[in-house]
């Protein structure tokens, strides 16, 4: 095919491509039926991940445990209230040396590892220290556990 025929054809194709891209993106019929999302969410709820269970209180008559996910949600909530912080992945473990024996409420120790993104321009040491204090006091107030160690990793910046 001669070059002078090919170029207008490719230009026409590029134009049709743009039209197809824009029209498809706005075409309400090019969406899956809502049953698709419903089925996906049904599976997700049935297979929800709660992480490991941590002992809060242990007595001879029985104990109370709390899921890692419940504590994580509390930590995210605590972080969300701080300007310039977005809390991401979180791991919660019983602190080393925490035995399984009988233990009154409010004495079990946990250690927290939290990854965060901060807004560009944030004072990282100051913000991280505020976040650490906030996490410690919230875990005491809401679940009656002692956050012995709170390790914070700044993994990313986000634009404000």
């Amino acid at each position: 095919m001669a070059l002078d025929e090919t170029i207008p054809r490719l230009a026409k194709l590029a134009e049709a491509t743009r039209t197809l891209r824009d029209n498809d993106a706005e075409d309400a019929s090019l969406q899956p039926h809502h049953a698709v999302k419903d089925s996906v969410m049904k599976v997700a709820r049935a297979e929800v991940r709660r992480g490991s269970l941590l002992p809060v209180y242990q007595a001879d008559q029985g104990g109370i445990r709390i899921s890692e996910q419940a504590i994580t949600t509390l930590i995210w909530f605590g972080a969300d209230a701080l300007p310039g912080v977005r809390a991401r992945r979180c791991r919660v473990h019983p602190a080393p040396g925490t035995a399984d024996g009988p233990r009154p409420a409010g004495t079990a120790d946990i250690s927290v590892s939290l990854r965060i993104a901060v807004a560009s321009g944030t004072n990282i040491p100051r913000t991280a220290e505020l976040l650490r204090q906030r996490i410690i006091s919230m875990i005491t107030a809401h679940v009656g556990l002692n956050a012995k160690a709170v390790n914070i990793t700044v993994e990313d910046f986000y634009d404000v």
Binding site: R9, L20, D24, V36, A44, R45, V48, T73, F77
Partner: protein, 200 residues
């Protein structure tokens, strides 16, 4: 600040995608649902243009998103999320086409979309009915020509031209080199331009 205030997380709309991915990885259903809503349309459009069948395209979207939930904790880089999702969807489309070709001689029904009826009201043609008809005609011609491409070429073309994915990502998705992606794309463009020309 009252430390006993009710525990309500920031709305997903107020967070960035990487944070939502990380929270979904840790089992947060609201974050995951937000991602499902954000991606289901894009994945459906890819699958529909690959497979030209609504039911098959919906199956691909559903399979991809369920696999996404199950495998999310294994994703190392939250910023790789969208590429990873496109990769899972593309491979499912190619698998679906392979299954079809192994049941040879299955005649494909024409597209069952309700778009043609309201295509005259679509934007972009500036209210000129003749021009609108021409635009809609060109689009249909392109969509039809696309179906004549080999599946891997069609995937390359759709991922690059419609979904604007990077060459590097497409290469990873299709397990070929970037050079191969560029070659397939050039062949796809040439073929599409050729196939569309009889209408002009």
């Amino acid at each position: 600040m009252n430390e006993r205030e009710p525990v309500v997380l920031k709305r997903p709309d107020d967070l960035d995608e990487a944070t939502l991915v990380a929270r979904a990885q840790d089992g947060n259903l609201d974050a995951f649902e937000y991602l499902v809503k954000a991606y289901q349309g894009r994945l459906f459009r890819l699958a529909f243009r690959m497979l030209q069948d609504r039911g098959d395209a919906e199956d691909v979207v559903q399979d991809t998103l369920v696999a996404c939930w199950r495998k999310l904790p294994l994703l190392i880089d939250v910023h790789a999320f969208s590429g990873w999702l496109y990769q899972m969807a593309t491979n499912r489309c190619l698998d679906s086409l392979r299954r079809r070709s192994s049941h040879a001689e299955v005649v494909q029904e024409p597209a069952t979309l309700q778009t043609t009826a309201d295509s005259s009201t679509e934007p972009g043609a500036g209210g000129d009915p003749a021009r609108e008809a021409e635009v809609s005609f060109e689009m249909d011609g392109l969509a039809t020509a696309l179906l004549t491409l080999p599946p891997e070429q069609r995937a390359c073309w759709l991922l690059r031209e419609i979904h604007e994915r990077s060459y590097a990502e497409i290469a990873t998705t299709l397990k070929v080199s970037e050079q191969t992606v560029r070659g397939r794309l050039a062949r796809a463009r040439a073929q599409l331009a050729e196939k569309m020309s009889p209408w002009h």
